[in-house]
Symmetry: C2
Subunit: 419 residues, 2 copies
């Protein structure tokens, strides 16, 4: 059973917006055991939408569509789907109620344009979208003459799409296509390249039961390994995965930072909160991205007291009290500066742990001695301060993200060893 | 004249890698007046590549392909193209020379696997790729019986693809097809919902010249409007768009924060750098996301001195010197606290402008008086301090993102008015 994705939007075709929905949807479908065989990005054009959908239904049981559901003139997906399924639009009471709720929440008037969001084709099942005004639409072609096919239309706004996928689409697809039980377990590895890791664990991977699949999810600074087990008995799946993880630990345990968490931030939040420890950040090259990742999780205030984005040297001196001569002698991107930043923020923000990043994110600012991608990171605690030098010869965004994952990894390793 | 993009790679279909090549290529083609009508992402599968290319050539004069050119087993694009064009592979001297040069640069031996990179179909024109070992391939179908069509195959590595597009593909396409011009202009609006904006500007939109299209690009906290004009004479397009923008300013000017920038961060970076002004941030509920957005842009250090993520009240007092009794009397989420945060960070980080956010991102922490999504923002400068109360009854990520766009909008408005 396979699926096609159709992402609709002129903004995607002119490159103003990167299509992140496709990757996110593919991940979610893959996790549910549904393969994506093609992703098609087209504009807000009636013929293109109609023809693309027709072609996809020639090869896929499932077609998921995003975009073109807004209330404005360039959003035509709903009308096209209505024609495609020879249906007619009507005002859906539940969808209208959702629109009304949202308008009330924002203290806004319910306009005719808002109401239009509640008009849907009669032949579809409305999928409630509590995060937005455009409902999801589920079209089911099940009948004795044709094979069972499903077409789903979702808003293009990423968080609305994700909400609908999680709460409505994936559960319904799993039921409609009997995908059975699926168990996932994610381990985060760091300190070894993807290809070396795959060489190292190949024998273990080849020996996995046929109902367990391994996926590599590399991202700047780390690689996540996701085990997906499929079967009918949850208890057996649980046992199989546990055995597989134990085997993996024996050959690659030194590279595995945590087990059972999707991100290092989640692991750190869990571990520090449980231990009653507090954390403060001092960021130069990561510019706030590190704090942002930690505070993106609810409950961050349980362990995260705050941070300083010491972008200029003046701030490194005035707020973090990095000695002037350290900056003058060694420069902002140096081990001594990273140490003083981590210890300074730990001391002045009264935290158990202080972590720091200082580097050259680029594209400018590199030198032969300190090329773009040179980053020093440090973790300070009552037990002392550890540092690491990174070399991430990539684009600005990757240097920043890589540095964030490396400092989180260093902290995670440190917390693990202290247990 | 239009084009299709085919991005090949299993890693794209399982969501391991976000397809950023499509957006980049679309931008470069659009700037050259070549419209992209569809983007197709498929796996490393011979039939899929063959059939997708065939279908694309039914509707597009230009088909650009990325990916599947590596030396490993799963990279099959070159062989498929060779079959598709009924050609044969041979070792191209120039391509081999490039491979040899690169191996020497890395001090590596020239292996047989390296040499394979220099084998290309006889019928193609080799496009030199000095940034990698896989050459670009240009297939030209020009002959008296068929319409002129071009198929180009490029490596999937983003910077190699960009280099080939810039230096080889775009110049050749502009010459091969006498391209028209496309002009884009983006305006950022805030303080009015998409549907209300659409009501307000509908008469103006309906009166736009037929060669100008309007697109709404909403995101948490703001809506971008993008005008796209097509034609032969750049000067006339420029004039048409200018006239259209002036008309829009007259009816919706009060909601338009900036004109000609894709993000508020870009506008603020440009404006403050040009004016020689400096900025510091004090973040509570945004937790570093605000600083991260500002520092994501190269050159941020020209105006951004740094920030304080004052997540706990202790940090608000100890680092930003928010008076204890202010926090005790009014609470952390209050106008007086926001004012003291903005003025405190401005003073202690010695910046011309200090901006602050303090609110309840949720899901927990809400009260009847201060529900989740309540955020106070403030902009402090030598001219005084302005504040605004926000109500963003959404999920945590949207509250944070919305607050970031609102404070950036308030600063942008302030900078605009001071001009």
């Amino acid at each position: 059973m396979n699926s096609s994705l159709i992402n609709i939007g002129d903004e995607l075709l002119i490159g103003q917006v990167v299509n992140t929905n496709a990757a996110k949807m593919s991940q979610m479908l893959g996790a549910a055991g549904i393969e994506v065989t093609q992703v098609l990005t087209i504009g807000d054009d009636a013929d293109a939408i109609h023809n693309t959908l027709r072609k996809c239904l020639e090869t896929s049981e499932i077609v998921l569509i995003t975009g073109g559901l807004g209330p404005t003139k360039d959003d035509i997906t709903k009308k096209v789907l209505c024609d495609f399924f020879h249906s007619e639009l009507y005002e859906n009471e539940a969808a209208l109620e959702n629109v009304r709720r949202r308008m009330e929440a924002f203290g806004r008037e319910l306009t005719d344009i808002n109401r239009q969001q509640a008009w849907v084709p009669r032949c579809c099942t409305v999928l409630n979208n509590p995060l937005g005004t455009a409902p999801g639409m589920w079209f089911d072609t099940q009948n004795e003459n044709a094979p069972h096919q499903v077409v789903v239309s979702l808003p293009g706004v990423p968080f609305e799409m994700v909400g609908l996928m999680e709460n409505e689409v994936v559960p319904r697809l799993r039921e409609a296509f009997h995908t059975g039980h699926i168990l996932h377990r994610t381990l985060i590895t760091q300190g070894i390249g993807e290809s070396f890791l795959s060489d190292l664990i190949e024998p273990w991977e080849l020996a996995l039961p046929r109902n367990i699949r391994l996926a590599y999810l590399p991202q700047p600074g780390l690689t996540r390994l996701r085990l997906t087990a499929r079967g009918d008995d949850p208890a057996i799946l649980q046992q199989q995965v546990e055995t597989a993880v134990q085997g993996l630990m024996q050959i690659a345990g030194q590279y595995i930072l945590c087990d059972g968490f999707d991100t290092l931030s989640e692991y750190i939040a869990h571990t520090m909160t449980e231990a009653g420890l507090t954390l403060a950040t001092a960021e130069s090259c990561t510019g706030g991205a590190l704090s942002a990742q930690l505070t993106a999780l609810a409950g961050a205030s349980n362990y995260f007291v705050g941070g300083v984005v010491s972008y200029s040297n003046e701030v490194k001196e005035s707020v973090l009290h990095v000695p002037h001569d350290i900056l003058a002698t060694h420069g902002a991107v140096s081990e001594p500066t990273a140490i003083h930043m981590a210890e300074g923020v730990r001391r002045h923000l009264h935290a158990d742990y202080g972590i720091a990043t200082t580097g050259i994110a680029g594209p400018g600012g590199g030198t032969p001695e300190k090329p773009v991608g040179t980053v020093w990171i440090a973790v300070a605690s009552a037990h002392g301060t550890v540092t690491r030098k990174l070399s991430i010869p990539r684009q600005r965004a990757q240097v920043i993200e890589g540095a964030c994952q490396q400092i989180l990894g260093l902290l995670a390793k440190y917390l693990k060893e202290r247990k």
